[in-house]
Symmetry: D2
Subunit: 168 residues, 4 copies
């Protein structure tokens, strides 16, 4: 890895459908990711897990990337530093996961499920945070060995990624 | 709907990871879809559910569309009439589901899971065929009311779609 | 090429900005393409060269594919048989050209220019119909040897494609 | 524009086909863009204008984004800080232009032509640097009023963008 290149960690989760729990976890994830010197990547919209994780990263002085579905910056989180305007709608979910060194699914919804599934398909390391047993069992059945972990806290999620990156 | 426009039904399922059961069901699905006068859409590759569903449709004189991930026709099923060469990799999964009037998930894998999730996200009618209880419960938790049905046979899957289309 | 697979010819040209000349040429192109037994592919919208070429193809009983930029069939030409709903905006221009055996640029505009350029980049055979000298000289400077031809009539454009396909 | 959000300027030009002149101009462009505090965006590959513009920006301590066509970081310029891995091939050209506040075409080739055309289609401000008269006349015929300017030096290109951004 060249000296200038940054580690990019994706936090994927619901927008409008995010719970208070999801948003609180996402904020802490963003903060912890920034404190590691990693770049945060999300779907970049101004709601739910996307917005909260970016705000968390900015609270710790981090850099944030938002991969936006639309053709303009409309509806973007204020806490996105680097907006990538894809104009490709949900097809951008595939770009989200390819661009990350690891992915954390924080909460669950149809969009998040597509991102977790695409991440597994693309051989990315995935962590599920605060997910119910059904989600865990479903994605376990799709994952390759050692590709998927569960975490009960943002701290544990970041620790698992730190360990995984150190193995490379 | 204008007179010339055709109803397009998507059959999504594993490629290399498809079981014999998945492939047999996909062949029958393709055949039944063609017999309804519908166009079959799949991921278009020369293996698994994609190939089997196209072959089934051709066995009944149907028309088949393959939405291919690569930049050429390499690796395409012989039974694809209309290859759409996207060059967009897994991002094409979003195109697969947007292009269909209804989607049948036949078998399960990471790619299929992303397509079922994107179909739910895009407000498409989805049928899960021959899926285990965990998959059914997982996608049920993501679906809007009346958006998702389970089927135990290709015949039942096609009957459910026929009924849904008649309600529009 | 497998027995079932069809030859697909793309007609690319302006939408709202098309001239009467462009639309008349596009209609004739569509008709001639259908008479050859080829499938017509266009951007699928209900205006300009897209709409006229599809209508021409249908007038001769041909099959038409429309690769649409939006997420629904809204704004689609009535004469599209097979709508592919990409939801990827102008990024779909890359899909248009990859999916064709040859491309005819009929008229010129910013979108058409991007398609002709992407077709040259993707090593497709391209014909420019009714284009001015500046356009011809510009694209000639980008094209590989024997990759680009000019035509003065739809009949000549189709004859050039017929000859090119016979050389493969 | 929120306080954290950065101005992003795209430099688009040939890869393997770039001339020495193109590469020298691209290096200077990258340097001047970084000196303005702007973020540099390019196609991110390790050759031609993409590589040279990133290296120039890094020489002045700037931040660089590379929108890559492939599914991994293979073939990426060492001077890219933020790689966006699209996996969408040339379809990523549409993402390149949407993500930028202004675009500089530096040199010309089929890929660059598609980006300049897509930028005009997407109502972006475009500058052509070191382009021949045919290219200038061709793109002038596609551009809306005040959307396209020519520059004879990197310094002039950056001055034109600075003025345009100040008018917003």
């Amino acid at each position: 890895m060249p000296p200038t290149q940054k580690t990019i960690i994706g936090v994927m989760g619901p927008g409008e459908g995010a719970t208070e729990n999801d948003k609180a976890a996402a904020f802490t994830l963003g903060k912890l990711i920034a404190e590691q010197g990693w770049v945060l990547l999300s779907g970049g919209r101004d709601c739910g897990v996307m917005d909260a994780s970016c705000k968390g990263a900015k609270s710790a002085g981090g850099l944030t990337i938002g991969i936006l579905p639309g053709t303009t910056r409309a509806g973007m989180s204020d806490a996105v530093d680097i907006p990538i305007i894809t104009g490709t709608g949900n097809a951008r979910n595939a770009i989200n996961v390819l661009s990350c060194d690891a992915i954390i699914g924080c909460g669950m919804g149809a969009g998040t499920a597509s991102e977790v599934a695409l991440a597994l398909k693309s051989d990315k390391f995935v962590i599920l945070l605060n997910n119910d047993e059904i989600s865990q069992r479903f994605f376990r059945s799709l994952a390759k060995n050692a590709q998927l972990e569960y975490a009960n806290s943002p701290q544990q999620a970041v620790a698992l990624i730190k360990q995984k990156l150190s193995e490379k």
